[in-house]
């Protein structure tokens, strides 16, 4: 664990409303872990690490106040970071299919790049439209089989990324599927993996306050997404009665997703 303030060194617009911020960071991070990112004067929110290494990075999609403020930050601006938190992916030997929906590509990309052998990792990238497809070039550098899909068909195949993943599982035998995206995508991906009897790991999201396993705001059933996750195995997710149905609001009240 560390807590530090960093200066943004590089800002890259990855797509429509999706921005990468790069900064030097001391701490060692494993693929799939996240940081609590403090935008001084605004908010502090969880962000997956999308670039590992000396020039680390996060990739943010604008959805509300904090993500907008973060997206608008400039080179030289200061961010507070604490973490890394969470368990990260378990990368087994064998063939891996990485499935990322939208900005869910952030933690997926570090997993793909974390594989030693590019012939053993395939990537399925999905988004609502062409503007939201990110990291395709990076993915092609890490894998021989990268496919894309958009809901509206404006880029790549037309359809959902789960349909694409299903197709790929039909074609090849994978030892594990890693998935990150909107909860509904995760839910259908889990279903598809079950049909093909492929074990999967899903990175989940919930409202996070502390990020450190204390406050309990991020729990799904008894599991803290921040400390017990954010990556859960398919079996864990299947046992979650709240998955795909409920989340907790700021007051800890259960509200439907």
């Amino acid at each position: 664990m560390f807590s530090e303030a960093v200066k943004i060194e590089q800002r890259v617009e990855e797509g429509k409303g999706i921005t990468t911020l790069r900064f030097p960071m001391g701490a060692k991070v494993r693929p799939g872990q996240f940081l609590m990112v403090w935008i001084p004067g605004v908010d502090e929110i969880p962000m997956s690490v999308s670039f590992i290494g000396a020039l680390a990075g996060i990739t943010v999609k604008e959805v509300g106040e904090a993500t907008r403020a973060l997206s608008l930050m400039k080179e030289g601006d200061v961010l507070g970071l604490r973490g890394p938190y969470g368990n990260g992916w378990q990368l087994p030997p064998g063939r891996v299919l990485c499935v990322g929906g939208g900005v869910g590509m952030a933690p997926i990309m570090t997993a793909a790049e974390g594989m030693a052998d590019r012939t053993r990792v395939d990537v399925a990238i999905g988004a609502r439209n062409a503007g939201e497809i990110i990291f395709e070039g990076r993915a092609r550098r890490a894998s021989d089989d990268v496919r894309t899909t958009t809901d509206d068909g404006s880029y790549g195949l037309k359809g959902t990324v789960v349909a694409l993943a299903d197709q790929m599982m039909r074609e090849k035998r994978y030892d594990v599927v890693l998935g990150c995206g909107p909860e509904v995508m995760n839910r259908y991906l889990l279903k598809a993996c079950k049909q093909h009897s492929v074990p999967c790991q899903l990175s989940l999201e919930r409202l996070m306050k502390c990020g450190a396993g204390l406050c309990g705001s991020c729990v799904i059933d008894g599991l803290r997404v921040c400390a017990d996750g954010p990556v859960f195995t398919g079996e864990q997710v299947e046992r979650m009665t709240e998955f795909g149905r409920w989340k907790r609001d700021d007051a800890g009240l259960r509200v439907s997703l």
Partner: protein, 304 residues
Amino acid sequence: MTTSLETDICGTRLRNPTMLASGVMGETGDSLLRVAEAGAGAAVTKSIGLEPRRGYPNPTLVELEDGYINAMGLPGPGIEAFGEEMSVALKGGIPIIGSLFAAIPEDFVTLAVRMQEYGASAIELNLSCPHAKGYGMEVGVDPEAVASIVRQVKAAIDIPLWAKLTPNTHRLLDVAKAVEGAGGDAIVAVNTVKAMAISVEARRPVLFNRTGGLSGPAIKAVGLRCVYELYEAVDIPIIGVGGAETSRDVLEYLMAGARAVQIGSGVGRRGLGVFQAACGGLLRYLEEHGLNSLSDIVGVAHVQ
């Protein structure tokens, strides 16, 4: 006779003296259940108020090398919605202690009665949160105000009543005596120490609320001191809390006079295994020293 870690806090029997501290994982029934599975002897709920509260915006937590500073702002679903969580929590089979916050005695009474209905084994009054305006330590430093709350709540419930006190006052012992005099059954000490963090780069306080409460190893020596002093000042049982993580920490608290020890920050710093690890160490200690029960060490640091 075999070695046992059982302990008793004014009628509430605990399989072991480790307890989840209020505010950590205690907002939902499922989490409390997991804490029971992880081996805690009892679990205290998040402090619950009358209405749902969102708490403060983030940042609500600062992580230091030797602890945390938090200013959550007492978020919670409110007493109404908490009934459902309690019914889940109770499945864990360990005593669930209902922690409550309010500004006036009448509200504490309302909350305590509901908590009792929900099946709480005891009530813990949060008279000590250092960062929520109008609540917690703002009432908890005034012996008369505390006595009045304790007296009224005590009259309204049948289960034991615990009062959780703040170390941020020179009147700790006066407040504890007020609790005892008003019929309180046990003292819980301590809540967090009022503190803050400033970011040099951002040139501002880190926490949204600016100030917060320091917890974890940084305050263990403060909590120990409070328990030690309380043991000589009151006769009701004391429950220690503040920076306890290992069996050694728990032993220090027991020797200072605590009958049980709550763990909060340790859950974040060491994971949920913290309860089982501490209990394992306690058992080994008792066995190595040929002791049968914890009562042989509670308060021994006072015998010279």
